[in-house]
């Protein structure tokens, strides 16, 4: 019995991962990340990576919405903030533990996505972008206004930690693995959704709403779905992040800042819009670059970093649009062909995989 399962697992592994070079590369990357804490790196890098994992969930959720359905959201930090404040406020007023507040904040985030989805669905293109830009501002305004209830710009401090019983270094490592696990789980779920019938419908909406309707698709329902799924994962990122050591156990207005919404866009454009996994790679690389290499190794003042970052994004956009790193790597690995000029967003039907199946 056990051997049949093992054999099936092994052949599935071969077909789905080993024979597909980009996935193999991803697997190696994951193994690398798993082994990293054991290499005795400084606490600083672990903290940066832990946050990067969470931001990866955030970026992937944005890509799922914008890269796959084409609904431009420029205020995604809204959900990050909703996550942070839901768990923060539940703790502040009711003193509930995080294993209750975090799931509850997911529910709150989904409800918020439903509520926000309604006006957003009626509105298109440029209007949608500007409307979504407004949402975090509105929330920030409300939080500041009702500052007795929300602690305003002071923030909510001393949020419970994940592993309070462990000593410092071990807590660090435990949180690292927790976030890595959440990232992998979220990425796999979002990737699977993107490559299912739902995902295909998403891309049809992106490409041609009229043709999609003419194919029998209720695009309003699917757009709402995309909103909720994307909002859910972004809320997860925000609420989990609030309790991290790397974040100082605090819920603050920083979770709603426009820079965060902007970074989601930058990471996605760097990683490859519509690829889901590209933005994650983008976050990891750029965060290490920005927070470690350019801060600890070479000390570049923050203004210069931000300027270079922004200039880098502009150059990326002008020369490569949203093609991104993920597609570049995939093209090079798959058939060793030259990069094509398209950015596919559909389910990637791996040629090598299909070849094996035909045998």
């Amino acid at each position: 019995m056990a051997t049949t399962y093992l054999r099936r697992f092994y052949s599935s592994f071969l077909a789905h991962i080993y024979d597909i070079p980009p996935r193999l590369l991803a697997l190696l990357g994951i193994l690398l990340l798993i082994c990293l804490p054991l290499a005795g790196l400084s606490a600083r890098i672990l903290l940066i990576l832990t946050t990067a994992f969470i931001l990866g969930i955030f970026a992937a959720s944005w890509d799922l919405l914008v890269g796959r359905t084409g609904q431009i959201s420029l205020g995604h930090a809204l959900f990050f903030g909703i996550g942070a404040y839901s768990t923060g406020l539940l703790f502040y007023h009711l003193n509930w533990p995080l294993w209750i507040t975090i799931p509850l904040s997911l529910i709150i985030g989904s409800l918020a996505a439903l509520l926000i989805g309604f006006p957003c669905l009626r509105v298109k293109g440029h209007y949608l972008a500007l409307v979504t830009l407004a949402f975090p501002i509105i929330l920030m305004g409300l939080i500041l206004y009702f500052r007795d209830f929300t602690r305003g710009d002071f923030g909510i401090w001393n949020l419970p930690s994940y592993f309070p019983t462990l000593p410092y270094t071990q807590q660090l490592i435990a949180e690292y693995y927790l976030c890595l696990f959440l990232l992998l789980a979220s990425a796999i779920i979002m990737y699977k959704i993107a490559n299912s019938k739902i995902g295909i419908v998403f891309v049809s909406i992106l490409d041609d709403e009229l043709a999609s309707k003419a194919s029998g698709i209720n695009i309003t329902r699917y757009k709402m779905m995309a909103f909720v799924i994307s909002g859910l994962f972004a809320t997860l990122a925000g609420s989990v992040n609030a309790h991290l050591m790397a974040n100082g156990h605090v819920t603050s207005l920083a979770s709603l800042r426009i820079t965060l919404s902007f970074m989601a866009v930058a990471w996605t454009i760097f990683g490859g819009i519509g690829t889901i996994t590209g933005p994650i790679a983008g976050v990891l690389i750029l965060e290490i670059l920005d927070k470690y290499v350019l801060t600890e190794v070479i000390d570049v003042p923050s203004s210069w970093r931000l300027i270079s970052y922004s200039a880098f994004v502009i150059i990326l956009v002008i020369f490569w649009r949203g093609r991104g790193l993920a597609r570049f790597v995939t093209d090079k690995l798959e058939d060793f062909e030259e990069a094509r000029d398209i950015d596919e967003r559909g389910p990637k039907i791996w040629k090598t995989y299909k070849k094996k199946e035909k045998k």
Partner: protein, 245 residues
């Protein structure tokens, strides 16, 4: 009872009557052609029937049921599918996925077999129009003639009882035109109860496959009848003066 019954349909844009008091019907198993010079209102008619435009007045009944005011996707669900005059493929998706979008999800199957079933059905659809080789190619890379066939495969995937084709022969070379004519006839034979409406300019191709022809001019129906009759109809010839047959 007619499969599709359209009565007194009128639609104006600004001061212009694009569709003016049009009446026609399609029965089960019929292939009907709609012809007329440019601007006659043919595509507008399609837009109205498929739910993309609301008429100013008139009624539309499909299988006896009133479909006026329904959203486009609902009309597709009722059983009317249409193609577009200018192809509208999903560029970022491979050809097979273009068809998969339109397929109705089978019920009751487990999720994994679901995808396999849909994939298999999609491949069947592509076989019907002869596109299986291009299955994995991103639609963006596919040539015009093939996209026209993809458009039809996608419409067929919705399992319609009424198929509306808007200039399916547009831009096709004689070889492709011939292949498409045969495909349409084959599809018709495979589903004898399905009605087909074709708007077309390439009259030599159209007249050979349709049973009945409706002629529109400046939004009005000016003639209706068998292809041979229409070809001899004085008014039609006048309206088409100068157009190649």
């Amino acid at each position: 009872m007619h499969l599709l019954e359209v009565e007194n349909l009128t639609k104006s844009f600004g001061g212009l009557k694009a569709v003016n008091n049009v009446n026609f019907h399609v029965d089960e198993g019929e292939i009907v052609g709609i012809i007329g010079p440019n601007g006659a209102g043919k595509t507008t008619l399609f837009h109205i029937i498929s739910g993309f435009l609301k008429p100013d007045s008139g009624t539309m009944k499909f299988k006896g049921e009133n479909i006026l005011g329904l959203a486009p996707h609902k009309i597709v669900n009722k059983g009317i599918a249409r193609t577009f005059q200018v192809v509208r493929p999903f560029r970022h998706l491979p050809v097979i996925a273009n068809v998969m979008v339109a397929l109705k999800s089978p019920r009751g199957n487990k999720k994994i077999e679901w995808i396999k079933t849909i994939e298999r059905k999609a491949v069947d659809m592509l076989e019907d129009v002869g596109l299986t080789e291009l299955m994995l190619e991103p639609a963006e890379n596919v040539g015009h003639g093939d996209l026209k066939r993809l458009e039809m495969a996608r419409a067929l995937a919705t399992e319609p009882d009424l198929l509306m084709l808007d200039e399916p022969f547009g831009g096709l070379n004689p070889l492709e035109t011939d292949f498409l004519m045969k495909s349409i006839q084959r599809i018709h034979l495979d589903h004898p109860t399905r009605g087909i409406v074709i708007v077309e300019h390439k009259l030599y191709a159209l007249m050979k496959i349709v049973k009945r022809v409706i002629v529109l001019h400046q939004g009005e129906k000016i003639a209706e009848g068998k292809p041979e009759e229409i070809a001899k109809n004085k008014k039609v010839i006048e309206v088409y003066m100068g157009k190649a047959m």
